[in-house]
Symmetry: D2
Subunit: 390 residues, 4 copies
């Protein structure tokens, strides 16, 4: 159980690019990073509007002189300092991830970046090579995978409690874009512009969460073939999609289906994960994160609650609130941020043994997400055709 005791050598000096007052995601980073004293927010280029960004940073407790106008200024300004930031989070639109991450790594900072990581796997590979050369960590904020129940599912699969996995059913749908984009916010507009969002909208925006979480639960399984059928129900979003279905064939013979949509009018269920094995299934939703439904064929369905002693150690170790009390999305983000901090700390200490077995969403996880998107787009553009995963 996590009680806030520090698991790293010293607090990390932390900066942010993006995540300003008008954005949606900045607070998720901050509430994830700051609750345990693992990170100290000391610098930022929070906003395209430099003055607003500085005012915002000061309100967050950052010195005015470390509230920069641009990420380039941040790189310059921080580079010379004795107390320079250790790590910088990138909470900006997709099309800026690559350049900002590259500049930060070249300047010697660890990076924590939003998903989808970059536009192409070749960009990912280039950044992976750069990070390796510089001895730096790149973390990716797949923020839903820090929930204790996610790791309960992974542990149960690993122990064989489900038997051989047969069916993977993944869904992340909502209806916030059911209407057209006439009055879309800035935070929404760039997501349907291919030059800013990349080759996908909902597949990248929410689908990568599903795919990464399935990798965490099923690390032993690989997709061999997939088929992606995508569509823009609001025509102005084409060629990007606001709805997609993906079928997947895994190397062990399992069958997967995945649904992402932002036109699923009224759906507040967020995400639904169901993993079906030859003996039992588990089902979990981020909208009811405290509960795991464990279904052994022929027995009563069991509802497992986070934090209860009957869970696996892998789950209990990362619990924060304990049995009866709901952990929310912020608690999940705080675990993600903690695990990335532990990776950075190990990297700084040169502890590769630790890194070899340490679980956190890093550059490989980010790359795999982009690879999955490339395969989806290739299938969709081929007329929703089956393609070999590569």
């Amino acid at each position: 159980m996590i009680n806030g005791e520090r698991s790293i050598s010293r607090p990390l000096r932390w900066g942010m690019v993006g995540g300003g007052r008008t954005g949606q995601v900045g607070y998720k980073h901050r509430t994830g990073a700051l609750r345990d004293g693992t990170y100290q927010l000391v610098a930022g280029a929070f906003d395209l509007d430099a003055e607003r960004g500085r005012d915002f940073g000061v309100n967050l407790g950052v010195s005015a002189d470390r509230c920069y106008a641009t990420y380039q200024d941040l790189v310059v300004g921080e580079t010379g300092r004795e107390d320079r930031v250790d790590v910088v989070s990138v909470a900006t639109p997709n099309f800026t991830h690559y350049a900002i991450t590259k500049a930060l790594l070249e300047a010697g900072f660890h990076v924590i970046c939003e998903k989808p990581l970059f536009f192409t796997t070749s960009e990912c590979d280039e950044i992976a090579e750069l990070a390796a050369r510089k001895g730096l960590i790149v973390g990716v904020t797949y923020g839903f995978t820090g929930h204790p129940i996610v790791h309960q599912m992974a542990a149960m699969v690993k122990k064989g409690m489900l038997g051989e996995i047969r069916i993977v059913d993944l869904q992340y749908t909502h209806g916030f874009n059911a209407g057209d984009d006439t009055n879309a916010s800035e935070a929404q507009k760039w997501r349907t512009d291919p030059s800013k969002s990349g080759p996908t909208f909902v597949l990248g925006d929410i689908g990568t969460h599903l795919y990464y979480l399935s990798e965490v639960v099923l690390p032993h399984m690989k997709v061999e073939r997939l088929l992606c059928d995508r569509k823009a129900f609001i025509p102005t979003r084409a060629p990007l999609e606001d709805h997609a279905t993906v079928l997947m064939h895994y190397d062990n013979g399992a069958r997967g289906r995945l649904w992402v949509s932002s036109v699923d009018a009224g759906n507040m269920g967020s995400q639904r994960y169901r993993f079906v094995g030859s003996k039992a299934s588990v089902e979990w939703s981020d909208s009811r994160p405290d509960q795991l439904i464990y279904e052994v064929q022929g027995e009563p369905n069991r509802i497992m609650h986070h934090g209860m002693p009957y869970l696996e150690e892998e789950s209990l170790a990362i619990d924060r609130m304990g049995g009866l009390h709901t952990e929310g999305l912020g608690d999940s983000w705080s675990n993600i941020y903690l695990w990335i901090a532990e990776a950075i700390d190990a990297k700084m200490r040169g502890d590769e043994d630790f890194l070899n077995t340490h679980h956190y969403p890093g550059i490989e996880a980010g790359t795999e997400g982009v690879r999955w998107l490339e395969n989806c787009v290739r299938s969709a553009d081929g007329g929703a055709a089956w393609v070999d995963f590569k």
Copy 2:
């Protein structure tokens, strides 16, 4: 609201083929037919074991001399009688539906048959022609579509409360066949034998329920293309499937996905129907039949209960229990049986005007189910390829 008052000229004299003591489905027919005095069970060939069948029939209140050894005997025995049966239900394995239905129609009896109706659409067309020629009704027991909530959904779609339909999400999965068939019951064994089950297992056994219900709710939409990916996780079931995913493109641009499985270990949710429109969605499950979730984007989700005055008249008219009290699957079957009785009564009275607007699952509904199966199999056998629906 239904209160048991007779809506037809006189009670129908009713017989059954199959549905004996050891079967699973016979009581669903009887409890559906008998609760309102619309049908009187007066004859039957209930069992392959003639003696057991006669004993069973007598316990149901049928005269011993009208408990027949075979359906052929029933045809012969009833044909001569003044008080001969008006209509006979066929609750036998799939491979016998065609021959029994044909024999009954030729002898002048109306027929109520289990789904999937027959093996091929050409059989369906032949029977449709025969029934038309003889002036007889063929009803099909799509037993889930009698729930008041199903007709609430249809009425809401018709009134435009959902806007243009965009997404159709259909699921009927359970795990009763998650293990292999070593100890399968007789009632299970024939379902995975292509010579007895026909060209499909779960697609026909449970998928046709999903497809017909979607037709009831969305009568204005047609499937244009589909793709079916099927698999037997228990290899002895091949070439039939215990798991299948179907993607559908509708003529209005809507996208559908459908999942059927009998290896979805532990799933007791039975069926899930979600219809997403440009303004709102509705979601319903047979496992919670009293509730409809109505989700207008941007408003709180609404939970509608069967029998409440705020529902549409089409739903209230067929309610039996009223507001606070759950209607079960038996109540749904009783509506199906009632509607078929009303069709038979109209046919006997020669009231074609009534028949032209009367809703009930008849030969066309049965034929469409078989047609959908043919398209699914064509796609699956082509390597889960897209096929034009024909």
Copy 3:
């Protein structure tokens, strides 16, 4: 599992008093009685409006000459017939139960009566004595206690799966009377008139269901003391109550609390039963009748589904629909009616051994309900004071 085979010597000839076209409860009796061929509806005095009642009866398939204007006419008309009714159901307002039941018993008919049975326990005792003297059965339609899950709970308690029972939590609340009675229907009006409803409104109308079901599940426990706090939120209903809370102390030290209300605005949950033992609890609601939640302290909560092989034999024996398919309130009523028929049949056969062990809601159950109401009223009238149960 019930499949419709007859468990009694011959179908019972059945009549009804009340339950006509405009009432709410008549169809519950008919759909409960008629689905299995155990009862044949052959006579009735369905309505205070004799003509409407006759028209209604004829529509139900009753001969016009056996559609009587009054219950007195029914007694007279049926008495002389060879094919006279065996049993008559009383589905009329509370204040008529006693006189009608008495007249029917005196004429030699078995009786099935709505709850609350009569106004006083002395009336109950008198009728019990009369029924015993005449060798007749009086059944009481506690219609919710026929659900297979109710008897699963009873079996689990009996086996000790819950340990010693500590807490009994009972709730039946709805909001249909949240507004005043200005536009109340006839079916509602009499319920708040003490001369017609008796000494209680919701305590009798819905509270007796809770109390009887708790007796079925906990036959070994007796209430020793209780306290009832009642109130009419709509003042015109006083001195009767539209809301009441009852605290109960049981002879084994258990504590009970019970809540009934018809001003619980918007509540569609109907009933909630929770039985807490030293080892485990069970919770059930009539609004989700297929599920029992079984909660062993320290283990994951289990959701049991009706009809599944892991249930106790007492529950499986009375299942009608089977595992995946919801049984509704009508199915519960049909079990109640069946058990009463079996009692009548045994009485007619003189099989007192059978009657000694046969479970059905009879005159004792009806009497206990009235006794409980008397104690509640005594406490409430004493200023919501504790009273010894007597």
Copy 4:
């Protein structure tokens, strides 16, 4: 919406008494206080084991020299410092609250104390007088009342959306003490020792949460009379209770019932709040904190989700995660800690106008909780008798 921007003049220097490594509640304080940079943890007397406490404090980032052996040492050590703590949280067993709070206030520190605040209202009054005299704030960690949905309920009641409140139904039950205390942890043992827990166990431990939350939602209503029936199902806990039922009569004629128990075997539902008005009801549970069920009689039940634009401004203003994403108990605590910080900041600035309208759980809220306990005990000790609330 809260995004982490500072709403107070400067971060508060914060200390803790208790809340060490082996306790259950310390992390709830820290995760609540630290996520927004409003508090900086700089001192503590975390543990009765001084060495363990110092090690723990250092791991939390506190200087070793400010990790004190006792609260007395903390008072002495901090008093002289320029950078002395502004505020100290008391997360220790009940019987120490009074002395520690008194010592801290006398030394000039603001205090944040666990509930139940003290043993008696006279202690509360004394401390209130002391705090007023010293110009200091006493906050009380009623940690569940920071959820945005709680304030949605309060706003809806205030706007009249429920009509006149009629029924208050409160429940906080779990089964963690269903077994006896043979192997009870230290954190559990003191709770059933009257010299350490005070005059109640579950009434104070969890019942005060229910009562305070009801005050937040219904500030205009006062309890006039109550009746408390309490019991120790595990006899060694007597005279304290592990189960209690409280009936309450409010000054507007409303009726309340409240249930607390720690022997409700298997119950993981935590808390349930239902407020019934003449027009509508709302129902909320901490175990599903993102949802409010809003039930207008005669309309479909509505499920409201936190963070959605259709909510009241009072709720949206304190939301942290936004629409689709669950806020957990930690987020609720963070709002409570924020509101107390704002009170302290205003007190330091001398801004009594702000304080006059600012909502936070302060000494009055703590006192009312103790007053309610006194009334409960008076009733229970009088034989579960009705008592006038005083």
